[in-house]
Symmetry: C2
Subunit: 221 residues, 2 copies
């Protein structure tokens, strides 16, 4: 069986978990306290990061290349459109969330509030938290603008772009950092993706020391 | 004709330039002082970054998705192998250079020495420069290890992984920050890739205020 070394609230790990689950690839989840840089883990992954996926006799790092591999090796159900134009748009949005959204929002909110505590680095820097809380508004508005024109973020079908976005937002929702009242279309989109069977394991995550809000696992939030 | 908004020493722009040139796609290069956040540029690209490629009636951002698009739309000559395994390895290495190498080396050397001056932010921080100079050794050794086992970085054929690596190294070579004596195989690899016609425009780059060393454009360095 495939094995995924992960951290429950890591958006990069969640994106891979969503892809695996949507494609019905069975996987054993192994929680990895990567910041302790355990020698075994560093042997598996010299870059010292999660996710690490063991599958088909190989050990793989880097969430975007992993998801592209899963798409090519396990094409059904597909999470990528057919045309080069639409595939570009999916990849652009995956990069948008994993790079821009990650740097502006996830780092300032999730990493300040959760990772600092988990890794013993103390209290959140309130300047960063404030910045992240500001920036997420702009990103939710951008998503609303996309969803006013499209059924899913990158077009008419659900793709890796939706999983990248939902991975970040679900981790932030776990710490009550998403204002779902800001946009009706974004809330509807999240309700749709949240109700997929692939989302179940993510909604069941529990991180010791951090209790999710009541609406976190509620499909009718 | 396609149009690329770029900055000469940006490794992300250079990677796209190499892909375009290798595929013999004619392109007009437009230098973009993106840090001045000119209103026209922000209209073209709300993320405020380079490269921006105008091609086939579309405006595209993000170097990795752009290169994947070029590969799908202009498949010859191919810069991606055929099997899912090998394609994963290419994408992993592109991410390695554009993420890890970029953060550890390019940011600490190129951005400190060149971008700070160009954007009017003053002198390099010597702590960062020292760190970058240390880290590049480790990356050159990693490349040497790969090239001891393979003809090109990701396998037996030249791929986007080689262009990603060569894009970063060529920009650093422009400011004399690459010790080519560290590894014979890395030097041989760079000589091979540097002598391709696709590399010519990069070797002809001139950045005002920064003179490249004599060996920069020399194929027999």
């Amino acid at each position: 069986m495939a094995k995924l070394y992960h951290v429950p609230l890591s958006p990069f790990c969640r994106k891979v978990r969503l892809s695996l689950a949507e494609k019905k690839i069975e996987v054993e989840l192994v929680e990895e306290r990567y910041w302790e840089q355990d020698a075994d883990f560093l042997r598996r992954n010299p870059a010292g990061k999660v996710p690490i996926l063991k599958i088909d006799g190989k050990t793989m790092a880097e969430s975007a290349p992993i998801c592209e591999y899963l798409e090519e090796q396990y094409p059904e159900p597909s999470l990528m459109p057919k045309s080069a134009d639409n595939r570009y748009e999916v990849r652009r949005l995956v990069a948008w969330f994993d790079d821009k959204f990650h740097n502006e929002v996830t780092s300032n909110l999730l990493y300040e509030r959760v990772n600092r505590k988990l890794t013993g680095q103390g209290y959140p820097d309130s300047k960063n938290v404030k910045l992240g809380a500001q920036k997420i508004k702009y990103h939710l508005d951008y998503m609303a603008w996309l969803l006013d024109h499209r059924r899913w973020l990158a077009g008419d079908t659900m793709t890796l772009a939706d999983f990248a976005a939902a991975a970040h937002l679900s981790s932030l929702d776990y710490i009550s950092d998403v204002d779902w009242n800001r946009s009706e279309v974004v809330k509807d989109w999240y309700a749709k993706i949240k109700s997929r069977p692939a989302f179940r394991s993510i909604l069941a995550d529990q991180v010791s020391g951090f209790r999710p809000p009541a609406h976190y696992a509620d499909l009718d939030f």
